[in-house]
């Protein structure tokens, strides 16, 4: 089992974007099960209209995908952690496909991400799986492709972006 500190040794994500709480099962090169508890004090609920209905309190679907992908990231990198995005090889998601969203997720739900490794090539890993709440599938993930790339590719890209400009120039 990996607790939050163990997960933080593997993933570079931090608050508020660290979206995996605990890893309950990890079979190297094969599969992983992780938990993520959803609460209404996550920052995504800031500014929500006072009269928002239950639907409005649905956990953002894109973050559900992100949370699952982070669980996949732990399976990909638990034995070669590099929680620094500025050096070495970094994990990037190349593509995500066939993600089916079955039902909304709400504060109070505990997500159980089940990740299976489909194929691992030298610098690319392919995953599939699902997310459950209380034993019910809330999301199916058909295929996620993760690539390991030199950090230099990212830093070079940033040099061309507004983020590289001195303050006030943008």
């Amino acid at each position: 089992m990996l607790t939050t500190t163990g997960i933080k040794r593997v993933l570079p994500h931090r608050y508020p974007m660290l979206l995996v709480d605990r890893v309950t099962e990890l079979v190297p090169e094969e599969r992983l099960t992780a938990l993520k508890a959803v609460t209404c004090n996550e920052p995504w609920y800031e500014g929500l209209a006072e009269d928002a209905d239950d639907e409005g309190h649905g956990y953002p679907q894109t973050l559900l995908v992100e949370s699952w992908c982070q669980a996949a990231g732990v399976l990909a990198a638990w034995d070669k952690p590099n929680p620094d995005v500025l050096s070495g090889q970094v994990m990037l998601f190349g593509s995500i496909s066939d993600v089916v969203l079955h039902r909304p997720v709400y504060p109070g739900d505990v997500l159980e991400h089940r990740v299976r490794l489909v194929r691992a090539l030298s610098d690319t890993v392919i995953f599939e799986g699902e997310a459950l709440v209380g034993g019910e599938t809330v999301m199916e993930v058909g295929r996620v492709v993760m690539a390991m790339r030199p950090a230099a590719e990212l830093t070079a890209a940033r040099e061309q972006s507004p983020a590289a400009q001195p303050a006030g120039v943008q």
Binding site: P12, A52, P60, V85, V99, A157, A163
Partner: protein, 140 residues
């Protein structure tokens, strides 16, 4: 845009990871609908993605496509609900200060709507995204 800490917090109808709101700059009447949105450095995802090296998360690009899709949905008089991310490819990173444009193409499929989108910064394509929606909001 100034940091929102000192000002009134804008009430939003649904929770979401991105503060920025895509603006419709072509309504689709004479071409595919298009939105633009500026990714400000004060987006709340940046401190954690990643510390010291802010990159706009790929799923947040998908989120902006999702919101752009909701704003341009062709279903007459009906709201649409996201049912599937059929595919998304991440082609280049998005950084604070980038302006993102989202070009959308809606097609009616059997029993649902498909929205294909290309999101791009000034440096080129950042992601291609294909989403599936159904009319109404009842959970499957």
């Amino acid at each position: 845009m100034a940091a929102p800490a000192a000002g009134p917090v804008r009430a939003v109808p649904a929770a979401g990871p991105v503060r920025a709101v895509p603006l419709l700059d072509r309504d689709g009447a004479d071409g595919a609908p298009r939105t633009t949105v500026r990714i400000d450095a004060d987006e709340r995802v940046f401190p954690g993605h990643y510390p010291g090296f802010p990159i706009f998360p790929g799923v947040c690009v998908v989120e902006l496509v999702h919101r752009s899709a909701l704003a341009t949905a062709p279903a007459p008089g009906a709201r649409v609900t996201l049912r599937a991310v059929e595919s998304t490819r991440f082609l280049s990173p998005v950084f604070p200060g980038d302006r993102l444009t989202v070009e959308l193409k809606w097609t009616r499929r059997e029993g649902h709507w498909r929205c294909e989108a290309v999101a791009a910064t000034d440096r080129g394509r950042a992601a291609t995204v294909r989403l599936r929606f159904t009319e109404g909001s009842t959970p499957c």
